[in-house]
């Protein structure tokens, strides 16, 4: 550093008239390197978002050649639509129950895989079994659970055999059970990611802390409360906020299992928006719904960023 600065200055000195341009060029070099990334971000993220926001303030865009500015009419229409409010309610239930269950299951299985009580081979087998749901694509998961939850499928057969139900339950086809059925499938498919992340967190907790706590005469529950949970807190908060964001965007699973039905009982913000756009061709209200979802997600993203800063 001390060597290069004087050399640079001595080389620059003779070319005094061209110096400002040379400095400008030097300053632009990093931007030259960044240009592909900046361009991709602008083309793939900024432009679509700006376009969707623009669409949401116009009369029915895309399908009308000369759409006009409509102010907040599309937002009013969406926010007063009973189907949208039902979708909002269903989404809230779906994402909150899914996230809590992902967290509880993920932490439970992660602790099981981290325990010293099981042998390495046993833990390896459990690890494979627990991770399996994460290996399937959503399409396969939807097909599997449609078969399992069929009124004459395996789940009902087992429940009838052990006497828990008298006749086959119509899991996806009954408005009373459909939301819980899709939530269950989402929990099943999503907990392994929590498990892996929390397992990594558990393995990063220094053994000294547990030894010190043991010396203080703590029991398992006290160690869990006062050592494990505080140490995992940053991971748990990050994962929970991210999961809320991801789950709120879940579309494929709902679409391929219930399609938002029956009777709107599993309609989510994602399926509502899709139907507005690709079934009703109401791209303006679909855009307004998408912007509302974006704003809601940004609230979650704000908490995520804040939790990351705290770390």
């Amino acid at each position: 550093m001390t060597l290069t600065a004087p050399r640079a200055s001595t080389r620059a000195a003779p070319a005094a008239p061209g110096r400002p341009r040379s400095t400008l060029a030097r300053r632009l070099v990093p931007y030259g390197y960044l240009s592909p990334t900046v361009l991709l971000i602008v083309v793939l993220m900024v432009v679509p978002i700006v376009m969707v926001v623009g669409y949401s303030f116009r009369d029915n865009v895309i399908v009308q050649e000369n759409s006009v500015f409509a102010g907040f009419a599309n937002y009013t229409r969406v926010l007063t639509d009973p189907d949208f409010l039902a979708a909002l309610r269903n989404t809230a239930v779906f994402i909150s129950v899914s996230t809590v269950a992902h967290l509880v299951l993920g932490l439970t299985f992660a602790m099981m895989l981290n325990t010293q009580l099981l042998s390495g081979v046993t833990k390896a087998i459990f690890r494979i079994v627990y991770i399996l749901p994460w290996l399937f694509t959503i399409a396969v998961i939807a097909v599997i659970w449609r078969l399992l939850f069929d009124p004459s499928g395996v789940v009902n057969y087992v429940l009838q055999t052990v006497g828990l139900v008298q006749q086959g339950v119509n899991w996806f086809g009954d408005p009373a059970t459909a939301l819980w059925a899709v939530t269950f499938v989402n929990i099943w498919s999503g907990y392994p990611f929590f498990m892996i992340s929390l397992l990594a967190g558990l393995q990063g907790i220094p053994a000294d802390l547990y030894e010190a706590a043991a010396v203080d005469g703590t029991n398992w529950w006290q160690r869990f409360r006062h050592v494990t949970l505080p140490q995992l807190r940053p991971v748990i908060v990050s994962m929970a906020v991210l999961d809320l964001i991801w789950t709120s965007h879940q579309f494929a699973l709902i679409w391929m299992t219930t399609g938002g039905g029956p009777l709107n009982s599993t309609e989510m913000l994602s399926t509502f928006t899709y139907k507005q756009a690709f079934s009703e061709y109401e791209f303006a209200t679909a855009s307004a719904a998408a912007v509302i979802v974006l704003l809601l997600t940004m609230v979650l993203a704000f908490f995520y960023v804040r939790s990351q800063r705290e770390r």
């Binding site: 080389r11 030097r26 070099v29 399908v63 009308q64 069929d150």
Partner: protein, 429 residues
């Protein structure tokens, strides 16, 4: 050294930026689909190729290019749902491929949007004789889609289940159907008489499995001037009949979220005795259950009805993009597909019925049930009132939701039809 790195760094940075700009410029470039030697390349987006035996569609396309060396066809094949979405976004951005495969349910919206062109004027320009065409889908008197191949939806009957239930003949009336379905459902196990897919993700069940009962008895869901007529006695009879099947517990459970493929699977597995389904699934059922004894028949009509029976159909339709710079060449390609010989070949390999009324599909190597279905088709008339309607998928979905309410006891048939009528009236102006 520092100088060299700095210079190299600046050079690389500048080149990177320049390359990026050049790449973007290249992405936006359009040669208009015409080569320097005068050869025109037509893009043809469709879902047909994926549903035909491997290489067969390419062979038909190659024949065209051999006859027309100055026209190249670039096939853009994707599954049905992807094709729909791609065409929708392409229509919005005025980047539709020159020739597009169409479903009758999309035509109205594409035509109103100005995305597909008026084929009537192209026919006139080309001095094309349209008398060979079995049908044309028109909006405001102009043709926007020509059905290339039609797929009808007859009644499929599992003969073994029917015989086991003690029913000798395939039902021909609604009364006989209810009786047969009841007897099949009473035979025990998980077997039911019929399946009704009312999934709202793809609500085709309303068209194929509900309105088909109406059309089979000569009824209509529209008035003479094309307005919704859902509160008519015929539509009410149809919905009440479907409700009676539900009340008799002859419908396979899970109807409210059942998809078309679930229905076919249940039929293949012997879990339902009868279904209304596309002829295209005959080979699939034969592959899955080679020993199953099943038949196809005309849809049962209302008791006492003696008129012609409508039989639901779906089409592989074709249209031309309004933004295409090569409309004349595109129409040449369309007229090739609609020619007697090519259309017969295409309908034969697709296991469908030709859009050219002079074309005869070759049933020589086909399943005998295709010939039976063709006879049913010729005795009745193809009926699908959703073709050409605006937002037809949405119309089906809103009707499906009302029917779901009826079947779950949430509303009466009258109230459901009144609600559906109101909804449809706001769409069909």
């Amino acid at each position: 050294m520092v100088f060299r790195v700095s210079r190299l760094s600046r050079l690389v940075g500048a080149v990177t930026a320049a390359t990026t700009v050049a790449f973007v410029a290249a992405c936006g470039a359009d040669d208009g689909g015409s080569d320097g030697d005068g050869t025109v390349t037509l893009e043809f987006a469709q879902w047909w190729g994926a549903e035909l035996p491997a290489g067969e569609f390419d062979r038909i396309i190659d024949e065209f290019t051999a006859q027309n060396p100055n026209i190249e066809i670039e096939l853009l094949s994707a599954p049905y749902a992807s094709t729909k979405q791609q065409l929708l976004t392409g229509a919005a951005s005025k980047t539709l491929p020159d020739v597009v495969g169409l479903d009758g349910a999309w035509v109205n919206d594409f035509a109103k949007q100005g995305a597909i062109t008026d084929l009537s004027s192209l026919m006139a320009e080309a001095d094309y004789d349209d008398s060979e065409l079995a049908s044309q889908i028109q909006i405001d008197g102009s043709t926007y889609m020509i059905p290339v191949v039609n797929f009808v939806y007859p009644l499929f009957v599992n003969k073994e289940l029917l015989t086991e239930a003690g029913v000798a003949d395939v039902p021909t009336t609604r009364g006989e159907f209810l009786d047969a379905a009841t007897k099949i459902s009473a035979s025990g196990g998980d077997v039911k008489g019929w399946a009704l897919p009312l999934d709202t993700a793809v609500p085709n069940g309303i068209q194929n499995d509900v309105m088909s009962w109406l059309w089979a008895s000569g009824g209509s869901m529209l008035t003479a001037d094309g307005k919704p007529n859902l509160t008519s006695p015929e539509v009410k009879d149809t919905v009440e009949y479907v409700k009676s099947l539900n009340d008799a517990d002859v419908i396979a459970p899970g109807a409210l979220t059942m998809k078309e493929q679930d229905k076919v699977e249940k039929f293949s597995n012997g879990q339902i005795g009868m279904m209304i389904d596309s002829l295209a699934h005959i080979n699939l059922i034969r592959e899955n259950q080679p020993d199953m004894e099943f038949e196809v028949a005309a849809l049962p009509a209302a008791d006492g009805y003696t008129g012609e029976r409508g039989i639901p159909y779906a089409s592989w339709g074709i249209g031309i993009s309004d933004s295409s710079e090569h409309k004349a060449e595109a129409f040449k390609f369309v007229s090739y597909l609609m020619s007697q010989e090519t259309n017969a070949q295409l309908s034969t390999i697709a296991n469908g019925f030709p859009g050219n009324k002079n074309a005869e599909p070759d049933f020589g190597s086909s399943d005998p049930l295709f010939r039976t279905a063709f006879e049913i088709y010729q005795q009745g008339y193809p009926a699908n009132e959703f073709v050409g309607l605006p937002k037809s998928e949405d119309l089906m979905r809103s009707f499906a939701e009302q029917l779901q309410l009826v079947l779950t006891g949430g509303t009466s048939v009258d109230d459901a039809l009144a609600a559906a009528q109101e909804n449809w009236s706001s769409v069909i102006e």
